[in-house]
Amino acid sequence: MSNKELKRLVATLERDITFATSSDDILRAAQKAKNFRRPLVYNHKQPIAIGAAASLIALIWIMAPTLGWSFLPRWDVNGNEWVVFTNIIFIIIAIFCFSRVFLDNRKVAQIAKLAFQKDALLDNNLRIKAPFNAQEMQIRFAEFDRGNYTRLFKQVIGGEYKGEFHTFTFDYYHFHYVDKRTETYVTSSNGRTQTRTRTVYDKFDRYGLIIPFKYAKSLQIYRFKPPRLYPQSYSTGSLRFDKLFTVRSVDEMQAAKFFKPAVVVALEEVANLFQHLNIEIDATGLMCFSFANKNMIMGNQRYDFTKPVEFYDELAGQTKLRLLDRALRTIEQVLRHSDSNF
């Protein structure tokens, strides 16, 4: 089968998966790849051969003056612009051929990744939502009071957790912020040393869950220090917990009510599963469970369209988002110990 047919199939898959609204839609698309009866890999013999030949000619031409080969017109002699121009053409041909090989393969891999991610969301009843207003969230939570240049929510995904004791809605987010700073650096040329300044943009990403939590208010539990802090510090009495986290609240009573021993132990257990874990409850009873792990809703993709049959089976199965599940179970445990049974 030709590359043309494969290209047509890839375009169909891209369209079908982009507009898929159910797991069945994704499986129908994957079935088309399965029916193709061979791995979705382009035959790139031709561009590789052309690219290799063009690079070889360009390389020989560039090296010729150094090696003393006189059978080729010299490009380093003044006035030989056409030789330089021809050489550039060869380099462009080589770059074009190799980037085509790279981009074609990357596109197929990206479509497979999109299919897997969409399927993982659908398997877990998650849906993409409109991003939060960064300014509004910055007022609510100190966690989002980061970044002096830019702050925005790149992705918000909504879901519902149905536990044994509590059912609640949650929003998963990807928060991106940029810090702008100027730094000085030293340059030296021709024996002269100069001190210059330049603007540097440091980019950061944080991820997390927003959950309604009506049993506590105005509380911060953090490993990654937020810029704003509540006035009262609190110690839980567990040497391990106090080493892992710092607690701040508006008053000690709020914190004392929240930190039942089972809550302390539950948070100790997840402290090392989530990088730079912070938990913040705002004044209106909304919890922000934030961390630096970027793979919470990605799942563990094992196959792609290079193995269409195995990839179909992978999509047909249930994708488990273990980190998300662990976070939600911990939050349910905290809720269970915060509510009243009577």
Binding site: F165, L239, R240, K260, P261, A262, A266
Partner: protein, 190 residues
């Protein structure tokens, strides 16, 4: 003052700061153990919140064995012995065993008569009991963690030297669940 005198004074001052640091560390870990113990007792006393209701439910439903009521009475009197200032892991162990017996008896009856579980107060009581036991388990775990840190803090060198000369603290026993460990044949030889 010559340079060698300055060096000697600096070494003495540094050593004093080091010893004070160790001394204070041992004291703060001891305080953390005492606080964690108080936390265990506080959680144990939470049982007082549910014992009257539990007694009432057991009396109202004749399906429950009389031994449950006896154990609840024993549990109440034993809980009065608990002192949040005195670390007494033996009394705590006895209370935990009694609570396990009460819980076990209730579970056996509820399994035999599933309708009991759905009786309004009973389901809430069972949930509260489970949460209380989880909190007691967690408080004991925090206590044991703090005890471990304290024991390590007085045993490692040079803390052991500072403790022998200044703090004079003894090792504290961690709490171990007798009932659970009796089920094992293996006993560690430390």
């Amino acid at each position: 003052m010559d340079i060698s005198s300055i060096i000697i004074i600096a070494i003495v001052v540094l050593a004093a700061v080091f010893v004070v640091g160790i001394y204070n560390g041992i004291i703060s870990r001891k305080n953390a153990v005492e606080r964690a113990w108080a936390g265990v007792i506080t959680q144990e006393r939470q049982k007082n919140k549910i014992l009257p209701d539990l007694e009432q439910v057991v009396k109202e439903h004749k399906e429950f064995e009389s031994s449950i009521l006896e154990n609840i009475t024993k549990l109440r009197s034993k809980m009065n012995d608990l002192d949040d200032k005195q670390i007494d892991t033996q009394s705590l162990g006895e209370i935990e065993s009694l609570m396990q017996a009460v819980k076990g008896g209730i579970n056996v009856t509820v399994e035999a008569y599933p309708d009991l579980k759905t009786a309004g107060l009973m389901s809430n009581l069972m949930r509260e009991m489970t949460e209380q036991q989880e909190n007691i388990g967690a408080a004991i775990r925090i206590f044991n963690q703090n005890v471990e840190a304290f024991n390590e803090g007085i045993e490692i060198f040079p803390n052991s030297l500072v403790n022998q000369m200044l703090n004079k603290q003894q090792r504290i026993d961690v709490f171990s669940d007798k009932q659970a460990s009796e089920g094992f044949d293996y006993k560690p030889n430390f």
